[in-house]
């Protein structure tokens, strides 16, 4: 991890875009809830996420160049700040674990059946640690290639599925109970958009001139377009099967068969998904290790990356050995836990920072008035 490497605004955009596309490729949590109305939650989720994005940007504006962990300590002091940083670090480790588990289940279930999941997890983690040790700047450079590749594959595949698409699958619209739409929106903001809180840990790596507001908003719009395209394609192709398949995007690709020449397109999707998951895992690994480094006051997270990566692998093996339990957790319970950490804690931090600033400025004003009277 090279401390001197810096990420430009454009690279930050591609990093955030890659992360969000990687997250949105796992859309099972929405499609299993909203079926043919899943596309609605992409928009409602994005709109509902805007106030929370404003909270993130408010924190960044108040503490420029500081990471989330440094902001915690600046606002709450060393002890309380570290406790809060522990919560965030655990949260990032939790997302990293579930992301790895999801990817390993995909590989073992669809691509290489019979392969021991332990081996898949370990091999994947070793490559993640190796890449993260090289620094985030090389990863940021790769992200541009990955993001454009993912978009190209998505667009081409969507065009190839047109022959199998049926617009009737979009109907009937809005027939589900209202609570389902609430669940879909809640899941979208907490499981998909909300994970972008991890970018607050990358801020010290950015160029000092970089304004993160534009890249964050641009990547949000980009992710909305990509997610809408992907979800709509799945609805139009899979129709009533959509809530019952574990990997809608993969199953959609499997249907493509152009004159028996263009078949097995799903392998391209698998490649893109694994690449984006790799990128996401690297970002989360960096965030978690940075959190540990900040809490324990070690100079660099680089030396602890391998043992920490090994810990994540064994932690993943003990967590949700049954895939069904994992899917239940994703759709039904995790949105509540994620909401507290992704939105309520940053909001409290921003309020505390404002209060601290307000008290500080009123005290300074009081001292000034006293000096003028004398």
């Amino acid at each position: 991890m090279n401390a001197k490497s810096r990420i430009s605004g454009l690279q930050f955009f591609t990093v955030t875009a890659c992360f969000l596309i990687g997250t949105f490729l796992r859309i099972t949590s929405i499609t299993s809830v909203l079926a043919n109305d899943a596309w609605v939650s992409v928009f409602t989720g994005a709109v509902a996420y805007l106030p929370f994005l404003a909270v993130f940007l408010g924190l960044v504006k108040r503490y420029p160049g500081k990471s989330l962990f440094e902001i915690n300590e600046a606002v709450f002091g060393a002890v309380a700040g570290r406790i809060l940083s522990c919560v965030y670090t655990y949260f990032f480790t939790m997302i990293l674990t579930t992301t790895l588990l999801d990817m390993a289940n995909f590989i073992v279930g669809f691509i290489m059946p019979g392969t021991p999941i332990t081996l898949v997890l370990a091999a994947f983690m070793v490559s993640c640690v190796y890449a993260t040790r090289k620094g985030l700047e090389p990863l940021a450079r790769i992200s541009a290639l990955l993001a454009s590749g993912a978009c190209l594959v998505l667009v081409v595949n969507s065009l190839l599925t047109v022959a199998n698409a049926d617009t009737r699958y979009l109907f009937p619209m809005f027939t589900l109970p209202f609570l389902r739409y609430v669940q879909g929106t809640h899941t979208t903001i907490s499981l998909y958009f909300g994970e972008s809180i991890v970018f607050l840990t990358l801020l010290p790596m950015l160029d000092t001139k970089t304004d993160i507001k534009k890249p964050m908003i641009a990547s949000l719009l980009f992710a909305v377009v990509i997610a809408f395209l992907a979800v709509t394609r799945e609805i139009l192709t899979l129709g009533p099967l959509l809530p019952y398949v574990a990997r809608p995007s993969y199953e959609t690709m499997r249907i493509i068969d152009i004159e028996t020449i263009l078949t097995r397109i799903e392998s391209i999707y698998a490649f893109i998904m694994i690449s984006l998951t790799f990128f996401k895992a690297c970002t989360l690994l960096f965030a978690s290790a940075s959190g540990i480094a900040q809490i324990t006051r070690i100079e660099s997270p680089k030396p602890i990356l391998f043992p920490f990566g090994a810990f994540v692998v064994v932690f993943a093996l003990q967590t949700y050995p049954i895939v069904g339990d994992f899917l239940y957790w994703s759709s039904n319970v995790s949105p509540f836990i994620f909401t507290i950490i992704e939105f309520i804690l940053p909001l409290l931090t921003l309020l505390a920072a404002w209060t601290k600033g307000f008290i500080g400025s009123s005290q300074r004003l009081h001292v000034k008035k006293g000096a003028v009277r004398k």
Partner: protein, 76 residues
């Protein structure tokens, strides 16, 4: 057997930084390093012995679902 192989691989790779940390006397790093490796070894041992236990994630799941009642009630 696979677990033992993977464990040996992970710990072996993790030990790459060890000589440098000892030479440079990075005490804090060594403590964090030792804690991580101890946790990994304990987890691997339990996994190899087929001892299944509820992880912190599982505990959170139960706490939110059973104690607080915060869940959407059923996989649809």
């Amino acid at each position: 057997m696979i677990i033992a192989g993977v464990a040996a691989m992970l710990i072996g790779i993790a030990a790459l930084d060890l000589p440098w940390l000892i030479r440079e006397k990075k005490r804090r790093e060594l403590i964090v390093y030792a804690i991580c490796l101890a946790a990994v070894s304990a987890y691997i041992l339990l996994y190899a012995l087929d001892v299944r236990f509820v992880t912190s994630l599982g505990l959170l799941h139960r706490f939110f679902e059973k104690t607080l009642g915060l869940h959407y009630g059923g996989f649809t």
